[in-house]
Symmetry: C2
Subunit: 341 residues, 2 copies
């Protein structure tokens, strides 16, 4: 998803209609996040500041704000706080991810791991987690803390599974589904849950929006995995084929292997296992030849469709059209990746 | 502090009187911790089990149980849950510490980092943190979650400071005090707070016991730093002088440098900075010659004394004699380290 700022001229209309609304919300979020620095011990504030001050896409806060949408006007402080919580949890996972991936750069800045060392980055991520959960205790009941801490545990479980399967070819498509459901869809789901719940919507709608969030999260992760092979390197901001290079089996690779002859399949598997050098360019070409783009894009669209279906019974609630618009934005982003024939 | 089991014959009397009481509590704690496995995703349960199943000293749970002591009899479920929370937070920090230290063995077993890889261990620690905080939401109010998440943030901040100062000689004794106050005393303090608070003691006593816990934590960390130079390698379970070898300035080293001539001081500083090979045996001998043991032991005793003073106004409350007994156990352990002349 693109950066949640007032739309640039070239953006598709859905983008403007959905994100143009959130300018004040995202501004308040940024102010709120920065105001949290003083909650940290003075000795670590500059490090926390470094992590917060990203040009991130703020997707999860966007989900909180849209899911709790009651119309333009005042920005509800509860939603700002919940948005800060999910963003801090997300930023903490990024800090830890970058250590593990040995990543040096994220969004054109050095990663925290590169800037402060892996050891300090582990602890910095922990401190961000801790503060995110501390913020949840400012809500009147334990419900927010309970939902967020459970999500966090599930996100970690998903990432553990992914980590343990790196370089292994003993991974099924069901494993892949389970992993992205936990590592990505879970935080999307809880963002939607918190938004609608805190805005006081009916329990049935809270459930529906949570299901929407889960499917959108799955769709988003599949899109992200597709972009790893079909993105423009400059826009994606990283080398294509990094998943393959790091021994990670994602949907484009599963589908490629289904369509390759046995010998080609064996080559991919051997690369995943690190038994032979990775030939990203070859496999990207094979994916083009075997129409893998469309097969993966269909999987994204199916999940966007399932997300929309979750909201079908609730056309009249204020968040519904905005959330559906978000699904359309994602469809548009997938379409924009389509290789020229 | 020694393992909280019914006293072995050679143990000092305070040991038996304090820990003999907690057999049922610690048994219930172990059962409770193991019952938590099912809360984790099936795919990661064996890893969580591996972390929980330690022969750890359970010091923080002991503090919870003693601070909430109302007499022998029923074990309060709230205290068991709180004890599990602080122990899980502690275990999570150990999992992360062992990654950062590159430790291969802890308590005669391979560390989680060694067993599952550093990447999975980062995530596993995160999942343990998340579940610890999730358990706090089973209390009726957000108070426990708030206290624990704030402590966790402070512990991390202390560990970050320690990490960033490794190999640096630009560290003062005030920095050292601040670091141990955060990284160790904080979790001791919150354990005591939770015990008395959940057992329903008066606010003044809750404050007093919390102060006791903080001072005991400082004392315990100084004792631990002393044991790094004066322990028996077999009992401590690690090579002596590891703090120096890892570039960490602790109280025994500060005091040694105060008493060494300038040239000797420069040698120690150069070793801390990694500019020359570490001469642990030499410095341990210097510490013996310059009576550093007694100077550090006095610092421990002073903190144990401050801990006792915090309880002075509350002699009649049931936890008071037990907590004072715990202080005596620590004094005894320090005395047991005293080198034969």
């Amino acid at each position: 998803m693109s950066a949640p700022r007032p739309a640039a001229p070239a953006a598709p209309p859905a983008f403007a209609s959905v994100f143009g609304l959130l300018g004040p919300h995202l501004q308040e979020l940024d102010q709120y996040l920065h105001s949290q620095l003083t909650a940290f011990e003075p000795e670590v504030r500059n490090m926390v500041d470094y992590c917060i001050d990203t040009t991130g896409k703020r997707i999860r806060p966007t989900l909180v704000f849209l899911s709790g949408w009651r119309g333009p006007g005042v920005v509800q402080p509860e939603l700002v706080r919940a948005a800060a919580v999910v963003e801090l949890v997300h930023l903490a996972t990024l800090v830890h991810d970058d250590i593990m991936d040995g990543a040096e750069v994220r969004r054109s800045r050095r990663t925290a791991a590169r800037e402060y060392g892996a050891t300090a980055a582990v602890l910095l991520g922990d401190a961000l987690f801790a503060h995110a959960l501390n913020l949840t205790t400012q809500f009147p009941t334990t419900e927010v803390c309970s939902a967020v801490s459970e999500s966090m545990r599930r996100v970690c479980a998903g990432e553990i599974m992914q980590t343990l399967r790196r370089g292994s070819t003993n991974v099924t498509r069901a494993d892949y589904q389970r992993i992205i459901d936990l590592k990505t869809a879970e935080l999307f789901r809880v963002s939607c849950f918190l938004g609608t719940k805190l805005a006081g919507f009916a329990p049935g709608y809270v459930d529906a929006v949570s299901r929407f969030g889960r499917h959108l999260g799955i769709a988003y992760q599949i899109y992200d995995d597709l972009a790893d092979f079909f993105g423009e390197e400059k826009r994606v901001g990283k080398t294509l084929g990094t998943d393959l290079a790091s021994g990670k089996l994602t949907l484009p690779l599963f589908l490629l292997m289904e369509r390759l002859p046995a010998s080609g399949r064996e080559e991919v598997l051997a690369e995943i296992r690190g038994q032979r050098p990775v030939q990203s360019a070859l496999h990207i070409q094979q994916m083009r030849d075997l129409d893998i783009f469309n097969a993966v894009a269909e999987a994204v669209m199916a999940e966007v469709g399932a997300a929309a279906t979750a909201l079908q019974a609730w056309p009249g609630e204020a968040p519904t059209p905005l959330l559906l618009g978000l699904g359309e934005v994602l469809r548009g982003q997938v379409a924009a990746l389509r290789p020229a024939v």
